[in-house]
Amino acid sequence: MSDRARLVPRRRVPPWARFVARRLAAGLVVVWGTLTVTFFALHLAPGDIVDGLIGPGAAATPALRDQVIAENGLDDPLLVQYGRQLAQLASGGLGWSYQLNEPIERLLGSQLGPTVELAVSALITALVLAVLAATLTAGRGRVVRGAAGLAELLMVSMPSFWLGIILLTVFSYRLHALPSIGADGPAALVLPTLALALPLAGVLAQVIRQELESADGRPFVLTARSRGLGATAVLLRHTLRHALLPLTTLAGFVLGSLFGGAVLVENIFTRPGLGRVLANAVGSRDLPVVSALVVISSAAFVLINTLVDVLHPLIDPRLREGGTA
């Protein structure tokens, strides 16, 4: 009886939900750790926080300094300030920007849209280009594969800011085909998207081609062929699906390279967005904005990895419970 009573409520939680909960809890620890490290790094960093708050414009008289210290509670013990920041974050606040004199959540909220737009369009472009390049070159002769390898090497080695500058020079200033700055309308999205997508496509194409080539001659391909499926049908229905699987494990890397690239690309194309906010905040040492962005990106990283772990068994039947990998 007592055994039964203990078993029943346990059964109500499906294993996948418990798995997700565990992953999210672990992720919360990561975000908390990131927040803690940035908080203490920020307060131990050389340079005075009070000066940062006053800004270079105003004269830092002792009276003004005292006022700033009192307003921000900077004379409280470090642990009290740390607790206050945690409480603030728990209620959804990210703090106050030193330089822009604005709540950070409002600042980031207004800049989130353009960056997400850029990142999503770059991700789609990179995936399409990589799949096309990989399927067209996998298993071909030495010359084709050599050329593809060289192109991929160039894409990976070219800094995204230089790619952006070449695209700007050629398509905006020589051919006058596309706008050079801003974020108005789809035309303004084309060049930044390419600058962000091409280096990523170089990496992804290498991975996909390797997978496609390793799938060649595997039993599932032979089976499909012997059922009378043409080479193209096998590629589209079986091999490609097999080759795209490992990409899900690269999701964290992709997210990181999109955001890291956005910092430079948004700067080159004078586009609004989180990347420019970060670059400006670093330049003016607006530390609360920097730490808010770090905490947000660690949260995004945790979310994407949890999502990948949850989706993986859905895409790959071999990973489902009871299956043999």
Partner: protein
């Protein structure tokens, strides 16, 4: 870089054929190019046609030609000569950053790999979290804490590389410590710290060099990226990245100011990547 690390998580094979690097032209070309770049780095005066900081407003924004091979910038400075003199700063930042990354990573990796289970667990969780961030973002955070400038940029990029090297060293250290010859040494009464110095370090060295040669390329990209954002060397000092930033506002009329230093970055990165890959192939084989 993370995909590379995965490949390197095995002990280096000692059977690499010496001289194979020099036999194939595809492997020789990047070495020759990098040697040329090194020559420019050591003797910039031999290659520069003008003084890099000499301004000549009358000759501002000239396109590439006989007098100025790569044209002039908005102040009439010779772009080729500035490129030649910028080589030293660009590469020193990258090499310095790589050394910082390798040093910090080796220290952290050895402590984690040779220390107790709790130390290992704690350090590796930190490393895992850091690996989640793109290198440029980590470097930006360090620059935000320390401020910009040549030295701080090198420290920032080096710090951002530490987790990659730490993971590699830690994995290698664990492998070596479990091997029979270390066990034999312990039986013979060799203290643990001596085993680490005599056995672990030499075995970690090879893969570390391979990873560093690939890491050098990404350090050049990150370093010039930070300079493009205006966080690098303070004028009149200039590296390739800050030259790109200088020319950014003149793209419409004078594309050569930014294109030339960006090309230099790309060429050097292609070379280091190619060398890193062939070293890596030799190590895995």
């Amino acid at each position: 870089m993370s995909t590379v690390t995965a490949l390197l998580d095995r002990p280096a094979a000692a059977t690499a054929r010496r001289g194979a690097l020099l036999r194939s032209p595809a492997r020789l070309a990047p070495l020759v190019l990098l040697a040329a770049v090194a020559l420019v780095l050591v003797f910039p005066g031999m290659f520069a046609t003008h003084a890099p900081e000499a301004t000549d407003v009358a000759a501002a924004l000239r396109p590439p030609g006989a007098a100025h091979w790569l044209g002039t910038d908005q102040l009439g400075r010779d772009v080729w000569s500035r490129l030649v003199h910028g080589t030293r700063l660009s590469l020193l930042i990258a090499v310095g950053a790589t050394l910082i990354g390798v040093g910090g990573g080796a220290l952290l990796g050895l402590v984690a790999g040779c220390g107790g289970q709790r130390v290992d667990f704690a350090l590796m969780r930190v490393v895992d979290v850091l690996l989640g961030f793109p290198e440029l973002l980590l470097a930006l955070v360090v620059v935000a804490l320390l401020g910009g400038g040549t030295v701080n940029v090198a420290i920032a990029i080096g710090t951002a590389g530490v987790p990659h090297y730490a993971r590699l060293v830690r994995g290698q250290a664990r492998l070596v410590l479990r091997s029979e010859y270390v066990e034999a040494a312990r039986v013979l009464g060799v203290p643990a710290w001596r085993s680490v110095l005599r056995h672990v370090l030499p075995n970690v060295g090879g893969p570390l060099v391979v990873l560093a040669s690939i890491g050098l390329g990404s350090a050049i990209i990150s370093g010039s990226g930070l300079s493009v954002l205006g966080l690098g060397p303070v004028p009149p000092e200039a590296d390739w990245g800050s030259m790109v930033a200088d020319g950014k506002d003149f793209l419409q009329t004078a594309w050569w100011i930014s294109i030339a230093p960006g090309l230099a970055v790309s060429v050097v990165v292609v070379c280091t990547t190619l060398i890193g890959r062939s070293l890596q192939l030799r190590a895995v084989r």
